[in-house]
Symmetry: C2
Subunit: 309 residues, 2 copies
């Protein structure tokens, strides 16, 4: 799957992933109205609304980008019905040949991490059958529990040729509270990055490992260091746009081959119609607003990468 | 809810929580057979089997213990159907007046953590309505992202009078990889513990904070230190029994009031019928085996606590 990701990025010229994090407040009124009319103001109504919204976005951007990243919390908050919308979204994105990065940030002790890995990336045994479950292509994973928590994911990745992105340095303002603390003169995120590189050695694709890392766009100096610490790990970069990360700052997240990083934008793409300069499309045409936002984001990032060459 | 937890522990004389982590391999043959006959060897069949199994366990132990801790990964691995079994389990435990600790280990940046907090502990707004979703009483939370990731949970806890247990020192063998690394002469878990105490100051119950901690039974020396670092935080202690933690080692996790910790056993309780000395009950009577295992665990822990007085 990491090979497919590299190929798609090269083919499309777009190291960009659209974050499908559908807050209800992003969903245009006409969709909300239709879903609530059909299912009432219920969890099912909310789940239907975010699913219809996602479908509109995916239809509008699927030929431009290699991947999407649904944030499962935005579905989980609507309970079982929300999880159904999550699963429908994953399946629909696959139909459209998009790579799906499940932003699930799971992580637990061994047997429990194995259950998460099975449910999201692998196949679960039921009686004499084995079945795919959520079936994302990549998942994000939390490293706080160490190797025990990561290995079950790596095992499933090897089997299924899928991948993970491990949280190394997150994009949020307080990420430094623990992640930046020095241990033997180096910050925790560097130690985690070093482990990511080690864990990744055992499962290499053609140029990059199945084991990648999450490094926020909001900390470019650290991104630069981490690029060197984990030369074979793809970096998933959240925090571009709405959170403040700028294209020029992202150049050091990439390798010389022009690969090695994929930049996420969520709000900036899916809620584009709500903000200048895309408000002119109107809520009815939210998909076209998202499409234009994606085109602008690709141009912005490629511009920065080319300026650097 | 932390007050209710303290009261129930005192009333029952049982600082014990049963971990409802139903692997399919724990489910007795007669239940599996019935569920597969009804729903086939499908995710729905698996989900039905774990739900029926849980019901049997809960019926057998609900008068003995204050709380249960379903591990959501064991449900999530069966997809949407598994999540439905999780929700049914939470609701059924509430019917039986058990406190439910959702072992979800969620944690993300601000708005995303808010969605998790809403979905698990709070109420979600849908149109003009607000609705409870998974509605556990406590949730476990991962601290790697710092205050941003925790505060949304604390806010919901204040509103709903619910609680969280933050991972401080986990029970697994590799937990030390990052958690034990020294920063300014003190291990990471102590720094996290100190933060737990701070986060908890803002939302105190009568004697303990709504913000508790997870500290594994397998590291008693660290438990002793952490008890002092977070005097007002309840400690959820996994790792007793199957993972190797012994009752005598757990005494320092408790405060002088005999409270302050609640010890979890999962396999040791729910799969008791599979092992000596409970195998004599037989698979048909798995609930009775679990009941006896709970009685023995309560006696074991209380014995250790009393020997200390």
């Amino acid at each position: 799957m990491i090979n497919k990701l590299c190929e798609k990025i090269k083919k499309l010229g777009a190291p960009v992933v659209a974050g499908l994090d559908p807050m209800l407040s992003y969903v245009p009124e006409h969709i909300l109205k239709r879903s609530f009319e059909e299912y009432g103001e219920t969890l099912k109504g909310a789940a239907d609304a975010i699913w219809q919204f996602n479908k509109g976005i995916v239809d509008s951007v699927c030929d431009l980008i290699p991947a999407v990243k649904p944030q499962i919390a935005m579905y989980e908050q609507f309970g079982v019905e929300g999880m159904e919308a999550y699963k429908k979204t994953v399946d629909y994105c696959h139909e459209k040949d998009l790579i799906v990065i499940g932003d699930v940030k799971r992580g637990d002790i061994g047997s429990t991490s194995a259950a998460y890995a099975t449910g999201h990336l692998g196949r679960v045994q039921v009686g004499n059958t084995v079945q795919k479950v959520f079936d994302e292509d990549f998942a994000t994973v939390n490293p706080y529990l160490g190797t025990d928590g990561i290995k079950p994911f790596v095992d499933v990745c090897k089997e299924e040729k899928k991948g993970i992105f491990i949280l190394v340095k997150t994009s949020n303002p307080s990420s430094g509270e623990f992640q930046d603390r020095l241990m033997d003169g180096r910050p925790l995120y560097e130690w985690v990055g070093e482990k990511v590189a080690q864990w990744g050695e055992a499962c290499m694709g053609d140029s990059y490992s199945y084991v990648g890392a999450v490094v926020g766009a909001t900390y470019p100096e650290m991104g630069k260091v981490l690029r060197k610490v984990m030369p074979k790990s793809f970096i998933l970069v959240p925090g571009y746009g709405a959170q403040g990360g700028k294209a020029a700052d992202l150049v050091p997240y990439f390798n010389e081959d022009g690969l090695g990083a994929i930049v996420n934008s969520s709000r900036g793409i899916i809620a584009a119609y709500k903000k200048e300069p895309y408000a002119k499309f109107g809520a009815e045409n939210f998909g076209e607003a998202s499409r234009q936002a994606v085109l602008d984001m690709i141009a912005d990032i490629n511009g920065a990468l080319q300026a650097h060459i």
